[in-house]
């Protein structure tokens, strides 16, 4: 484990080094123009593949094959007729389509094409996540129904969906919220919503959602030039930058002045409160999603930049493939038996502590309670590697990239005041405000928070029938603590007891500097837990972070409205 191949891999997988081809937008542009003419037929049958009618799907699949084969038979020099985009679509289908027959046919077609001498792309990643071996995903994976459902309704199964599908209850309300945010009725135009999401994701240098929403932005009729830099976007969108920056890294600094600047009658360009709430929820959603993408080490989609290559695999690359059964990333098999025993001990210990905590009736002074909170909040957690500069396509959408999360000074003068959860809570205050300004959104978010806080399978690693409430609560409150939110009725001592240091490193990295997450950080904690349990932890971080950011902004808005 001395060398860290995974880190290098992740770097690449997340679009760190774009192979020497044009920018994403160049590609998107080309794809669009191509698709308008000769690829039309293929694209059509691709869309029909998502039909709910089985026969229709079969017909579409047949049509797709015919179309592709026709192109191949014509056999004019090179792959002139078989466009790159079609190939990428095929690649994506062959990798991620939950429908077996489609997957098989797509693979077959690609092979045929290759035999015909067409230069065929190859996916760089072997599964949705660089951290979780593809085989593990399949083993722990859910029933295919939910994947098929999302394939049919969204037209594709992206990596986020695949990983979240480990927790189907969460996935459904996540997709519902996301759909409502991006597609349903709301005060902001659709392409703006995608652009705001792009802006937000860029703050965390997360090229996955940036690419996804860029595509969505173009599809919704957005202007390409906006994507080449913030300066091309309308002033109104650019005026969100400050809020975006604070929301992403230091939401506790958001005050009613920030809101006022955007909303007050004199502001030019002026945001309405409903628009602002919509934008805020979008941004917070995108930020927390970045945490998830980085925290689960999601690979770029096969048709994203950095997700495929036309080059042949170099032999040296193969052993690194994370799907090899004895990959160093597979948590349970790391360093032989000793490791195994240690790990098992750790789980036992943790369970022991959880039980103890629930029984314990220890009294401690208020002073002590405050100290414990402060200690957790300002504990210095070394964050992993400092990454190289983010890819250009992301960087040009970021203003003031140096602005980052900053540790709270240990009880220093300049420490911003803590927010007391009892004074401004989601249930009592946040919900009402969101629902007032953006009907239904409060309900959706509320449902999502509830699902995530009640999600449990009553098991831990190899143990069944465990009440994980205290552990989940500790995680949730620790994240809020990192954001300066304090619960009067919570003893932060238990955070220290329950969350081992490696877990804290992971959580803090994910919640505060998600772009610095590495495979090492991911693999270091909870070594005997299932991957699905680690994803569960990821979900808690993501939602807790979302709620914390929202609470600060909503409080500022409430103060503004006062």
């Amino acid at each position: 484990m001395a060398s860290n191949p995974a880190a290098g891999f992740t770097c690449q997988a997340n679009g760190g080094n774009t192979p020497g081809r044009g920018s994403v937008y160049g590609d998107l542009r080309r794809n669009r123009s191509e698709s308008e003419c000769d690829v039309g037929q293929t694209v059509k049958s691709l869309a029909r593949l998502c039909s709910r009618d089985e026969e229709e799907r079969a017909a579409a699949l047949e049509e797709l094959c015919q179309g592709v084969l026709l192109c191949l038979e014509l056999d004019r020099p090179g792959s002139a007729r078989l466009s790159e985009q079609t190939l990428l679509h095929l690649l994506r289908l062959s990798r991620s389509c939950p429908l077996k027959e489609v997957r098989g046919r797509a693979t077959e077609l690609l092979r045929t094409a290759k035999e015909q001498g067409v230069e065929v792309p190859r996916a760089l990643a072997s599964g949705p996540s660089a951290f979780i071996p593809a085989k593990e995903m399949l083993k722990e994976g859910p029933d295919q129904d939910i994947l098929i459902e999302s394939f049919l309704s969204l037209g594709r199964v992206d990596h986020i969906t695949m990983v979240m599908a480990l927790h189907p209850a969460y996935l459904s309300c996540f997709l519902r919220t996301q759909h409502a945010l991006l597609e349903m009725d709301g005060p902001l135009p659709r392409h703006w919503r995608h652009y705001i999401a792009v802006m937000a994701a860029a703050r965390h240098h997360c090229s996955y959602p940036v690419q996804q929403h860029s595509a969505g932005f173009l599809e919704a009729g957005g202007e390409e030039s906006w994507l080449s830099g913030l300066q091309h976007a309308p002033t109104k969108l650019r005026s969100l930058q400050t809020l975006n920056k604070l929301l992403a890294h230091r939401p506790w600094l958001i005050t009613q002045q920030h809101i006022q600047e955007l909303v007050c009658p004199g502001a030019e360009p002026r945001w309405s409160l409903a628009e602002l709430i919509h934008a805020v929820v979008l941004m917070a959603h995108a930020h927390s999603l970045c945490s998830f993408v980085w925290g689960c080490g999601l690979n770029p989609e096969p048709d994203h930049i950095g997700g495929y290559t036309f080059q042949l695999p170099s032999p040296s690359h193969l052993p690194r493939s994370p799907c090899s059964p004895h990959s160093p990333h597979s948590p349970a098999h790391e360093d032989g038996r000793q490791e195994l025993v240690d790990g098992a001990m750790e789980v036992e210990m943790l369970m022991q502590r959880m039980v103890e905590l629930q029984q314990q009736e220890e009294e401690c002074t208020q002073e002590e309670m405050v100290t414990r909170f402060e200690r957790e909040r300002s504990e210095s957690i070394p964050t992993a590697v400092v990454r190289g500069a983010p890819p250009d396509l992301v960087l040009r959408l970021v203003e003031d990239p140096e602005f980052r999360y900053e540790d709270f000074a240990p009880r220093g003068e300049q420490a911003p005041p803590t927010m007391r959860a009892q004074d401004y809570s989601w249930e009592d205050h946040g919900f009402s405000l969101v629902n007032r300004l953006l009907p239904d959104m409060g309900q959706l978010l509320d449902e999502k928070f509830q699902v995530v806080s009640n999600l449990t399978y009553n098991r831990m690693a190899m143990h069944e029938g465990v009440d994980t409430y205290t552990l989940r609560k500790a995680l949730w409150n620790y994240i809020h603590c990192l954001y300066g939110i304090r619960y009067d009725d919570y003893d932060y001592g238990s955070v220290n007891v329950l969350l081992e240091r490696s877990l804290k490193v992971f959580v803090k990295t994910m919640a505060c500097y998600p772009e610095q997450t590495t495979a090492r950080v991911y693999h270091a904690f909870w070594r005997h837990f299932r991957h699905s349990e680690k994803v569960h932890a990821n979900l808690i971080v993501m939602e807790a972070r979302l709620q914390a950011a929202l609470l600060y902004t909503l409080r500022a808005i409430t103060h503004y409205m006062r």
């Binding site: 059509k44 049958s45 004074d423 919900f431």
Partner: protein, 789 residues
């Protein structure tokens, strides 16, 4: 009277007095509570815990309970309650989960008495038993309620709500053993204090958290709950299933609810978010607050009535760090600002109009009621105090009914359908239309058509001499009064007053309810009714009789359904009176500037027989076959304007179209457009789409003809991806598939596309027609039996 006296007795010698006043606190308040004799109030919050004395002119700080160099979180209060029996005893709920009791009798500075740290999470609420000195109940975020005996060091029983956070707990005022608890998941549970194992009953009261509940101080069955869903509901708990009996919709989530003492139907609420006001509602009038206190600058967190038998003083604490005493008489009454006028059309052209009674009765002409106001039912006792009643907003409701037979719009529909506007020679069109009008018993219109034909036809037309004859044959002219005015007077406050009277004279109610809508309630007159119950009842019975009087009276006042048979020889050119939705304007106009056109619909004031008055009679002597058609133009124009003014745009437009070029230049475009628009609007209201389309087509105004060109877009979704198709009708931008492929020839349909609504298959109009001639099944082979008609 009775109630008032009870109040004074209850307060006894120590009657409360004071004024609206406030004081600044050092920190935001979370809750307040008063001691039993209403002389002191305790304010608790995260950083404040103080007792203030309520003096005549001001608040005076009596005691700061927050002592110590660095006060612990036990002082950070979410709730506070002063014991209503033991005046030295207070309890607080701390945000860290502690329940603390305080004994003011302690000699030391720190008055803390007992500390219970049994709850794991924030305690949201503490509640003393109303009669039992040592019993304290708490409800916490951890989902448990605990009952403490203050003589012991720990709780005596724990009640598990089996769900998330408890938001409020309240002992029943009447049932010794019962308490209610409200939960974050929307449920309300009822518990018996002796049975900690299981709740007695549970029901879902709100969607989302129920933040508060309050038992009615007098009525044992009533529980008010307030929730995040912005509603206050009153539940009747005496029945086997909790029954919602009142529901008040507020504008923000409801944080606290408190019944108003001595007022059975009143309760006060405040909100947790956005809205800073305190509202007092009469639950029977859920749409408008009875009173509002608007002093606070931030959300109100605690409200409490100062004395449990005095409804005039309300105390409130707020996040804006102020403590207020509100005098009820200083409250804002939103109802004063409400608009008591309303106007609405019924389905069949009836018009209902409600206006402040004072406005209507000031219109002396409208109400020549002999015998003064005898017809007003008088059934109320003297109002004890005007400020305690809903502001007097009784409105008079007048319903103007259209006469069912004569004033149905049938003639309009028939005329519209039968008139010919083009396609035949001018003379024939006129004849045809005249015939139509005659058959519909509209001789005036008929005559007009005939005359038009004569005026504008070739002078050599042989039918000309027949005119005089036909005119003289004009039959009886039914004069139609479109509206019978029925004066229905009723108060906006009817219901509430009915309810109020219920307490004292329940039997009245039986009479009251059915008569409701016909009874006008006028509070001014009610003063007369001070008196015994019996009298009131009698008077009320009288009122019902009056109801009939009312009608008969109106018969006198009105020329209702009267038919005037005019002398045969009279050249009656009075037109029929049309009623149409523009009637109110019409009505007013008549009153205002055309008194000579009397006998109009809804004319109530003028009872004189209608003088017949002819508009075009002047033209009669001038008639001569030798005159050029253009000679008549001014007169025709005047006639058209007249019809239009009278509401018969149908006539105006029809003539306009039939005459076409002959008259068009005489009338300015705007007027024409206006007529067309009105007529088309009417036609569309009667769903005469074809006629309206024909009219649009025949019109010459550009603004009208273009109506046919607008909203002709048909939005379709792509048959593959089910998303809207934007640019072209046949190819989807999104999936790049040709969506509309002909099921017969499998080519893209770019022109007329016809499809089956049953199976969604379709294709070229021609192909489908041909196909379905030979086969009954869908050409796509889906097996659907398509139909083409």
């Amino acid at each position: 009277m009775e109630k008032m006296s009870r109040v004074t007795t209850a307060l006894g010698s120590s009657a409360i007095s004071g004024r609206t006043m406030f004081c600044h606190l050092d920190a935001p308040a979370n809750a307040i509570s008063v001691c039993r004799d209403a002389t002191q109030v305790v304010v608790a919050g995260r950083n404040i815990f103080k007792i203030y004395a309520l003096e005549e002119e001001q608040f005076v700080e009596k005691l700061n309970l927050r002592v110590g160099r660095k006060p612990s979180l036990n002082f950070s209060c979410a709730d506070v309650m002063w014991h209503q029996m033991e005046e030295n005893l207070l309890a607080t709920a701390a945000t860290n989960g502690a329940v603390v009791t305080w004994n003011l009798g302690k000699p030391s500075r720190n008055k803390q008495d007992q500390l219970f740290t049994e709850h794991k999470r924030t305690v949201n609420k503490v509640c003393f038993h109303p009669t039992e000195v040592y019993m304290l109940l708490s409800g916490s975020q951890d989902g448990f309620m605990k009952c403490f005996d203050l003589r012991k060091k720990e709780s005596v029983s724990t009640f598990s709500g089996q769900s998330e956070s408890v938001r409020d707990v309240q002992f029943s005022m009447k049932d010794y053993f019962t308490f209610a608890a409200s939960f974050e998941n929307g449920n309300v549970q009822l518990w018996d204090i002796r049975r900690p194992d299981r709740y007695e009953r549970m029901f879902t009261a709100h969607t989302g958290p129920v933040f508060c509940c309050d038992w009615h101080p007098d009525d044992r069955g009533w529980l008010a709950t307030g929730g995040r869903d912005k509603m206050v509901k009153v539940w009747d708990m005496t029945t086997t299933r909790a029954k919602e009996i009142y529901c008040v919709q507020t504008i923000a989530s409801v944080a606290r609810v408190k019944w108003r003492p001595e007022k059975k139907f009143h309760l006060a609420t405040c909100s947790m978010m956005v809205d800073h006001n305190i509202y007092v509602w009469d639950v029977r009038r859920p749409f408008i607050p009875f009173a509002t206190f608007e002093e606070h600058k931030d959300v109100t967190t605690g409200i409490v009535w100062r004395h449990q038998h005095d409804p005039h003083f309300l105390l409130s604490g707020s996040k804006d760090s102020t403590l207020y005493q509100h005098m009820f008489k200083d409250a804002t009454r939103p109802v004063d600002k409400a608009n008591p006028e309303g106007l609405c059309f019924g389905l069949f052209g009836d018009l209902a109009f409600a206006a402040k009674e004072s406005l209507i009765s000031s219109d002396a002409n409208r109400k020549p009621y002999p015998g003064g106001d005898r017809r007003y039912p008088i059934f109320f006792f003297k109002k004890p105090d005007p400020t305690e009643q809903f502001a007097h907003v009784s409105s008079a409701l007048s319903v103007f009914e259209t006469d069912l037979d004569s004033n149905r719009m049938d003639w309009f529909v028939k005329t519209a359908q039968l008139y010919l506007l083009c396609g035949k020679p001018f003379a024939e069109l006129c004849d045809h239309n005249a015939k139509v009008a005659r058959e519909l018993k509209r001789p005036q219109v008929s005559t007009t058509w005939t005359m038009l034909r004569i005026m504008f036809s070739d002078p050599a037309n042989p039918t000309t001499p027949g005119l005089n004859h036909s005119l003289s044959k004009l039959g009886t002219l039914p004069l139609m009064n479109s509206f019978n005015m029925k004066e229905i007077s009723s108060g906006m406050g009817t219901e509430s007053r009915l309810e109020r009277s219920k307490g004292e004279s329940r039997q009245d109610n039986i009479h009251l309810e059915p008569g409701n809508s016909h009874i006008s309630i006028n509070n001014e007159e009610n003063e007369e009714t001070e008196g015994s119950e019996g009298q009131a009842e009698y008077m009320f019975g009288d009122a019902e009789l009056d109801d009939d009087d009312l009608y008969s009276m109106e018969h006198d006042n009105q020329t209702e359904e009267q038919e005037y048979t005019l002398p045969q020889e009279a050249f009656q050119l009075r037109h029929e009176i049309m009623d149409n939705p523009s009637a109110p304007e019409h009505l007013q106009q008549d009153k205002a500037d055309s008194p000579h056109v009397s006998g109009n619909e809804a004319e109530v004031t003028c009872l004189t027989p209608i003088e017949s008055f002819s508009l075009i009679s002047i033209s009669q002597p001038l008639f001569s076959p030798h005159l050029p058609a253009s000679f008549f133009c001014p007169i025709v124009r005047e006639m058209l304007s007249y019809y239009a003014e009278q509401g018969d745009v149908q006539m105006a437009v029809s003539v306009l179209i039939v005459l076409g070029e002959r008259i068009r230049k005489e009338i300015d475009d705007l007027t024409q457009e206006h007529w067309y628009m009105s007529y088309i609007d009417l036609l569309q209201r009667f769903e005469l789409w074809n006629v309206s389309n024909e009219v649009i087509k025949l019109s010459t105004c550009s603004a009208i003809t273009c109506l046919n060109q607008t909203s002709t877009t048909l939005h379709i979704n792509c048959s593959n991806c089910k998303r809207p198709m934007n640019n072209k009708g046949w190819i989807c931008d999104r999936c790049h598939q040709c969506a509309s492929v002909c099921a017969v020839c499998h080519h893209v349909v770019k022109g007329l596309f016809v499809w089956c609504q049953g199976c969604n298959h379709g294709g070229h109009l021609e192909h489908i027609m041909n196909w379905l001639k030979s086969s009954a099944h869908c050409p796509a082979g889906c097996g659907h039996l398509c139909e083409y008609t």
